[in-house]
């Protein structure tokens, strides 16, 4: 549906919906135009498809794990298979889905658009990042499927240095994936420094970009440490370097320090972009300016930096000294503060706003509750005396699923629905979107709330068999998992259906003031026919809803004459 500007009081892009014309999806054809593309939008779409596939694979593994745990003894698989299942579930979900996740799939698409830019700073590096993901994915999955890797995604020594199996191959895959992450982060940092438009100072950037900046800092600074850790693990296995093996003079706890020095900041790679998405959604669907912009922006950087100081809270029971444990515990409590600042600011944004309950807003509200629970339970685990009892129990499993899933995945789904019209040019069915969101929300809580309880009752994690008194908790959890799975199917079908049958989306269906809404849905190859001028990204007063369009237009009396 092409609409020409009809009213001098309103300003709108010349083309609202570009599916009937030329856009980034149809401008060129053939697999080579995608495989060798330098267009950040196409790379973002390829990433989106890839990581959602990884999520599907990881999700199926989760259902298999939960099915096995329906009974206290063997249900559908042998013990060693079970160990490989949770290793694979963790590795796939973490390295292939959630770490690239929002930055690669949504950030790649949206970041240049939000800057009014034509692309990221290094488009070829962007494509290289994607191919490194693909290669790392192939490596890791083949290795795990053929090589009986059962170390858990954490690869703790001395088991990982002494056991049989394709450890070197899967660790090499993770090493390659690390470079994918580093290059994405590097690209985003340079883009945000050098490709902001005139008028967009740092404090006029959308908060999603602040979040991506903080994430990128962590990606660039933390991931190399994982790199050397994995490299040392490979050399240890291949040559007997001796650095982690006590029989050769090494120290296995040193591995844990190295590993968690990356893997703790990694969780901030996972959550910071999600928080950025929420900042965008809460503004648009409360029809209100963000509250506390600078605090939210600074807190993203604070979280990114503080995240480097707390890795030892994964190691309270590893034998490290009490003094060290106390310091890490104190710092862990500290890092809750910037996260809480964000939550308070978001809620304050909603106050006296005009709440618009669309599918993305349902996800936003879910995020507040689920991330809130997840974050607070992190404090339980950060308290030394309590952690001694909860370490390596299902309490930990529930905690990190609440923050990673209830936080990041929920925000990712919210962002995916929010930007879906921009990416695809189609509106999805909002009612079915809400059905999916509700099923995921209910299913998720049923799955993981019971895990908090059984964890605090002593149920250890990664166990194949368990004492019979835990059976009801496991069974409830499994039912929840299946319900979640159905919710995902509903969501996926709804989005897929919209690609063919959805209403053609206008340029600005939700009334956002950030720059990606100033171009057609989907955008042209060069992003903008005219570089838009940056203003306050959260000033919604200039937008009014146009019934006939089914979207928002900018009202601009100065446009006349």
């Amino acid at each position: 549906m092409d609409t020409q500007a009809r009213d001098l009081d309103e300003e709108r892009p010349v083309v609202e919906n570009a599916l009937g014309g030329v856009n980034y999806l149809n401008a060129t054809h053939g697999w080579r135009s995608w495989a060798f593309t330098l267009d950040h939008k196409r790379i973002g779409v390829m990433y989106l498809v890839s990581i959602l596939s990884a999520f599907l694979f990881g999700g199926i593994l989760a259902l298999l794990i939960r099915t096995e745990l329906l009974t206290p003894t063997r249900t559908i698989m042998a013990a060693k298979t079970y160990n490989q299942m949770f290793t694979l579930h963790g590795a796939v979900m973490i390295f292939l889905f959630i770490i690239p996740g929002i930055p690669a799939a949504l950030g790649n698409f949206i970041l240049p658009l939000m800057l009014g830019a034509k692309d990221v700073a290094f488009p070829r590096l962007n494509l290289a990042s994607y191919y490194l993901w693909v290669i790392g994915a192939i490596f890791s999955i083949v290795a795990i499927l053929t090589g009986s890797v059962d170390t858990g995604w954490t690869f703790y020594t001395p088991y990982s240095t002494s056991t049989d199996g394709a450890i070197i191959a899967v660790v090499a895959g993770a090493f390659i994936l690390g470079f994918s992450s580093i290059f994405t982060g590097l690209n985003f940092i340079v883009t945000l420094h050098k490709l902001r438009p005139p008028g967009m100072t740092w404090f006029r950037m959308p908060l999603f970009l602040w979040a991506l900046y903080g994430t990128a800092l962590v990606q660039v600074l933390a991931t190399p440490v994982l790199g050397i850790t994995l490299l040392l693990l490979i050399v240890e296995r291949a040559l007997g370097l001796g650095i982690f093996d006590p029989s050769l003079g090494g120290d296995p706890v040193l591995f844990q320090h190295f590993f968690w020095f990356y893997s703790h900041p990694a969780v901030y790679i996972m959550i910071l972009p999600a928080m950025g998405v929420i900042s965008e959604l809460v503004v648009v669907f409360s029809r209100k300016h963000i509250f506390g912009y600078k605090l939210i922006a600074y807190s993203s950087i604070a979280i990114a930096l503080l995240g480097f100081l707390v890795w030892g809270h994964h190691m309270f029971t590893s034998g490290q000294s009490n003094l060290v444990s106390m310091i890490f515990s104190f710092l862990t409590f500290f890092i809750a503060i910037p996260s809480a600042i964000k939550v308070f600011n978001w809620v304050a944004t909603m106050y006296k706003g005009e709440i618009w309950l669309t599918t993305p807003m349902w996800y936003t509200l879910s995020f507040f509750l689920l991330f809130g629970i997840g974050g607070l339970t992190g404090l339980f685990l950060g308290a030394l005396a309590v952690d001694v009892h909860l370490h390596d129990t299902y309490f930990v499993v529930a905690h990190f699923h609440y923050v990673m899933f209830g936080g990041t995945v929920i925000a990712f789904l919210g962002g995916l629905h929010y930007w879906w019209p921009k990416i695809s040019g189609r509106m999805f069915n909002d009612s079915w979107g809400k059905v999916g969101a509700a099923m995921i929300f209910v299913g998720f809580n049923v799955t993981f709330m019971s895990q908090f309880i059984m964890g605090s009752l002593g149920m250890p994690r990664r166990y194949y068999n368990y004492p019979v008194q835990f059976t009801p908790f496991h069974q409830i959890s499994t039912v929840g998992a299946y319900l979640m799975g159905i919710g995902f199917v509903v969501t996926a079908v709804n989005l897929a259906y919209s690609l063919k049958h959805g209403r053609l989306a206008p340029a600005n269906p939700w009334g956002g003031a950030t720059l990606e809404w100033r171009t057609s849905s989907p955008p042209p190859v060069e992003n903008f026919t005219e570089t838009p001028e940056a203003g306050d990204p959260y000033d919604l007063s200039n937008l009014k809803y146009d019934e006939s369009l089914g979207g928002y237009v900018r009202r601009d009396a100065e446009a006349r004459g």
């Binding site: 050397i228 003079g249 090494g250 490290q320």
Partner: protein, 287 residues
């Protein structure tokens, strides 16, 4: 408008058509150059963090077991290490000069300097090969391959059981020969000469060095090979980059308007040099 199927980006806007090196998404060459600079420095930061794991391992093991490092370093040849240091410093000088030559458009000078840099890199690797070869012959390799063929006598008295050191997770006996024990020695066993007979000089300072091989002495060589090996890999990568630059320079691709790749590889090469500047004293000049 339709585009070539291989190139979805639009054909150059007017301001871009004059400069073949200016990418479509940058406004000016200067912006593009500055972006490249930031990107390269970020990459160097990742390299520093990559090596930091090894420096951290060095720090942890040396803090907990200084005698291992004092023992092990005597088998390193300080002269060769110093020579390598000088070679790399010279190569950094020629590299920096090469960047200058590129900026000035002096292509022949640029190519010559790049070649000299490459030769220095090969010189470095050659000396390292000699050192590695000696270690191999002496069986002084990383932990699992550590089979020293110099004569060593086990201690004549049972070393005291030391308290567990921080970070040791297993219950393994963590006792090591303490330095204090050496004060009781009255005669020194012959230590096999290192690659250049360096060890003989150490004998003169025997009151500082343990005369018997401490427990887990192989850890020194694990650290040595890990650190110098990773560094050497980076030197090899650097040689490929420098060769690529030399070929492009010979084709006249660099001049005052465009010398970014030379500049960027120069930054990389300086980092490789700086890392060695740290490795040399930490491994070779232990007191």
């Amino acid at each position: 408008m339709n585009h070539d199927s291989r190139d979805p980006s639009p054909t150059g806007t007017p301001s871009h058509s004059g400069n073949p090196h200016l990418a479509h998404h940058f406004e000016t060459p200067r912006q593009q150059y500055e972006a490249a600079k930031i990107g390269m420095w970020l990459f160097l930061a990742t390299e520093i963090l990559f090596f930091s794991g090894l420096f951290c391992a060095y720090a942890v093991y040396r803090a907990n077991h200084p005698e291992i490092f004092i023992w092990g370093h005597q088998f390193l040849d300080v002269t060769m290490g110093a020579l390598n240091t000088v070679i790399l410093l010279i190569s950094s000088f020629t590299m920096a000069w090469a960047v200058r030559a590129a900026q000035q458009g002096r292509t022949r000078t640029l190519v010559a300097l790049l070649i000299v840099t490459i030769l220095c890199a090969f010189g470095f690797l050659g000396i390292k090969f000699v050192e590695y070869h000696h270690k191999w012959e002496a069986g002084l390799l990383w932990a699992r391959a550590y089979h020293p063929n110099h004569e060593h006598r086990p201690g004549t008295e049972t070393p005291p059981v030391a308290p567990p050191v921080t970070g040791a997770a297993t219950g393994a006996d963590s006792s090591v020969a303490s330095i204090a024990d050496t004060a009781n020695r009255t005669s020194l066993p012959a230590v096999a000469p290192g690659p250049s007979g360096m060890a003989a000089l150490v004998v003169a300072n025997a009151h500082h060095a343990p005369v018997d091989e401490p427990r887990n002495a192989q850890i020194f060589f694990s650290v040595y090979f890990a650190m110098t090996g990773l560094h050497g890999l980076h030197v090899i990568v650097g040689i490929f980059l420098l060769a690529w630059l030399a070929l492009r320079a010979r084709r006249g691709e660099f001049g005052p308007g465009y010398f970014t790749p030379v500049d960027m590889v120069g930054l990389y090469w300086h980092l490789v040099d700086v890392i060695w500047i740290y490795l040399f004293p930490l491994l070779y000049l232990i007191h």
